[in-house]
């Protein structure tokens, strides 16, 4: 039994989105404190939506996050559409899925290559990596550019999409644009294969802790938009019942709330989706998972980045399929589907890069009167802390520097998006 004492205090963890601190205090071998502190400024988006026209909501909430702006906009549009009885067309559904794949690709490539890979390649960031392994960085930039161009063709840009609106789109890509993107996606397979090879060689830390994994689920597709909430512990819930799954609580060391479902915490994100929805992955993605040594149910949180690589393979293949479908039917100019009422309540759910995202609005006479947004990173916080509490005693024999690094890499593996996670709240709808 070790009697070691140790303090870890990582102020403003780097290579993550937003501001968070890791604080660990071990006294005589006993873990006294183990927290991921969220110190980002609160942003109050739910309060800002109140009183505004429903059509503003997706534009305002896309500003919650620069990385998953398409995800927030989509969840927001779905919440509004459900509240107002809007039925989007098949073309709208296809274009939204395609746009979503662009964002998942952009975010996962950024995270896997630029934020995580430097930990394994012995550099502090992607910038020296550009000198020591330029082909790796150029590959990442090339893939990311294609993801961004995909979003641009559909909604104008990736960060804060323009053309997405309640009931449909205000702009449509041409067949030529889609065909050109298809050609580039096919050519991208070589970079994707190289990515799988690269990540299969990285020494992912050996650690595991069984937890509950939660993701959106559909029987007939690897689900990112709508579906039901599903758990590896068993059980499904309609998205409208999200509060029964998330059960938010406020903790003093975090401006983001904590959540718990059937255990003390649960995990959302790429690994959770992989564990819940493995059967719905594209065959090429399943093959990549085999190469990467990832099988469901995997309980190593560091493997979240590897699950993201599997999703990169899936999204490239599914984007090609969606473009084929759009080209076969032809993209036509459509007016957005109109609201059938101006008052109601709706829940929009999407599985964005970091996990399940919920937007819930109450709309009255066309104005938002109540809003609640529950963000993936908020749902992961309690689970990250539970991982840290298991990990620290297992690695106490290492140096302080090694322990700090292992904890930083653990938190980073979750791909936390801290600037999103700071306005979670508890609205009492009246």
């Amino acid at each position: 039994m070790t009697t070691k004492s140790l303090k870890v205090d990582v102020h403003h963890l780097t290579r993550v989105e937003g501001h968070g601190n890791i604080v660990v205090d071990v006294q005589n071998g006993e873990l006294k404190q183990c927290e991921l502190q969220i110190v980002e400024t609160p942003r109050f988006f739910e309060a800002m939506l109140r009183g505004r026209p429903y059509s503003d909501s997706s534009h305002i909430t896309s500003r919650i996050c620069g990385i998953c702006a398409v995800g927030h906009a989509t969840a927001s549009l779905r919440a509004t559409e459900k509240a107002l009885g809007v039925q989007p067309s098949e073309q709208t559904v296809l274009l939204r899925k395609l746009n979503f794949h662009g964002e998942i690709l952009d975010s996962h490539i950024l995270h896997a290559y630029m934020l995580v890979a430097p930990d394994f390649l012995g550099v502090g960031s992607v910038i020296p990596l550009a000198k020591s392994a330029p082909e790796v960085v150029l590959r990442a930039l090339r893939m990311k550019k294609l993801a961004g161009d995909l979003c641009k063709a559909i909604s104008g840009r990736h960060t804060h999409p323009i053309a997405m609106t309640v009931g449909g789109f205000t702009h449509f890509p041409t067949s030529e644009e889609l065909a050109a993107l298809r050609e580039r996606l096919v050519a991208m397979r070589a970079d994707v294969d190289t990515t799988v090879e690269l990540f299969s060689t990285l020494p992912i830390p050996d650690f595991s802790r069984d937890t509950e994994y939660i993701a959106l689920h559909k029987p007939d597709e690897y689900c990112f938009i709508d579906g039901v909430i599903a758990s590896t512990d068993g059980g499904t819930w309609p998205t409208e019942d999200y509060r029964r799954v998330t059960n938010e609580t406020i903790v003093p060391h975090s401006s983001a709330k904590h959540t718990a479902n059937q255990r003390e915490s649960y995990m959302v994100g790429a690994l959770a989706r992989f564990n819940v929805n493995y059967d719905q992955l594209h065959p090429r993605a399943k093959a990549a998972a085999a190469t990467l040594g990832l099988k469901p149910k995997n309980t190593n949180p560091y493997m979240n980045t590897v699950a993201q690589v599997v999703e990169i393979v899936h999204c490239v293949e599914d984007a090609i399929r969606l473009i084929d479908q759009l080209l076969a039917r032809g993209v036509v100019w459509e007016e957005p589907a109109p609201p059938t009422r101006l008052s109601g309540e709706g829940v929009g759910a999407c599985d964005v890069p970091r996990g399940t995202l919920f937007h819930n609005y109450v709309i009255e006479d066309g104005k938002v009167i109540g809003a609640n947004c529950i963000i993936p990173t908020g749902q992961n916080l309690a689970n990250i802390e539970a991982d840290m509490r298991k990990l620290v005693p297992e690695i106490l024999d290492r140096t302080q520097e090694q322990i700090t690094r292992a904890l930083e890499m653990l938190v980073r593996a979750y791909d936390p998006c801290i600037s999103c996670s700071t306005h979670l709240l508890n609205v009492q709808f009246v």
Binding site: V16, G124, S125, T159, I162
Partner: protein, 251 residues
């Protein structure tokens, strides 16, 4: 040729989308990395240097404890550039500046409202001197590259003062008003290549007001296109709350 200028990036209250746009601009301009030395960029790197000449600041100042951090950056940097609408205008964060602060806090954090520090979000020029602004939500990546080029040449980034409509007409877009939509183009600073009207939506004013905006005429136009006073106020407050409040105060 002197040594490469040392550059640092900082973020306050924001979505960090402008810094991501900086990362994205490297997709087309990887040579940028050879022209400057980035000493701090928390979102993208772990290395951290305190010796920098140019500071790019993203985000608005939304709590008193942000102020000394901004002062410290100002003391170190020869040039401070406000990056994006949050730093430039307060951004969407400022929407709540017309709402009672306590009500906003309690709506989100209930009886724990006092746990989390906040005040009215403001542009960073309200806290420290700012030398240049790159407007937009998010910033335009070509404008960012152009601004860096100017800085490398020893010049200040220049943002022309003309309304968005001029740019939109040059693109030969059909005016979105004729498509039944509302647009703040006549009073908003151009420079984004009229991206929102080009993709079928009205301008939301994210780049801020031109020097002499005719707000009353703009209200009249929106009124004629069927918007209620309340809807007009909503339109003018997505990005422009602080600027409009300042104009109202000035009379």
């Amino acid at each position: 040729m002197s040594a490469k200028p040392k550059v640092a990036f900082f973020e306050f209250t924001s979505c960090e989308g402008c810094q991501l746009t900086v990362v994205d601009s490297l997709q087309d301009h990887p040579e940028l990395l050879d022209t400057v030395e980035i000493v701090q960029f928390r979102e993208a790197m772990s290395e951290k240097g305190e010796d920098y000449a140019i500071a790019f600041i993203e985000g608005s100042c939304s709590r008193p404890s942000d102020e000394p951090k901004l002062q410290a950056i100002r003391q170190q940097a020869a040039i401070v550039v406000a990056l994006g609408a949050c730093a430039h205008l307060g951004g969407v964060n400022a929407i709540r500046n017309r709402m009672p602060l306590q009500e906003v806090r309690e709506y989100v954090y209930g009886d724990r409202a006092e746990w989390f520090e906040t005040y009215e979000p403001r542009p960073i020029k309200d806290v420290i001197k700012v030398d240049a602004v790159i407007p937009g939500c998010p910033i335009d990546r070509r404008e960012f590259i152009k601004a860096v080029t100017h800085l490398l040449q020893g010049r200040m980034p220049f943002i022309p003062d003309q309304p968005l409509c001029m740019e939109c007409k040059l693109k030969e877009n059909i005016c979105v008003y004729t498509r039944g939509k509302v647009c703040l183009g006549p009073i908003t600073l151009a420079g984004c290549d009229a991206i929102c009207p080009t993709y079928g939506d009205g301008c939301e004013g994210c780049r801020g007001l031109i020097a002499n905006p005719n707000i009353e005429a703009m209200r009249q136009v929106m009124h004629e296109h069927g918007l209620t006073d309340e809807a007009i106020d909503a339109k003018l407050s997505m990005f422009l709350t602080n600027q409009i409040m300042a104009l109202e105060e000035a009379g």
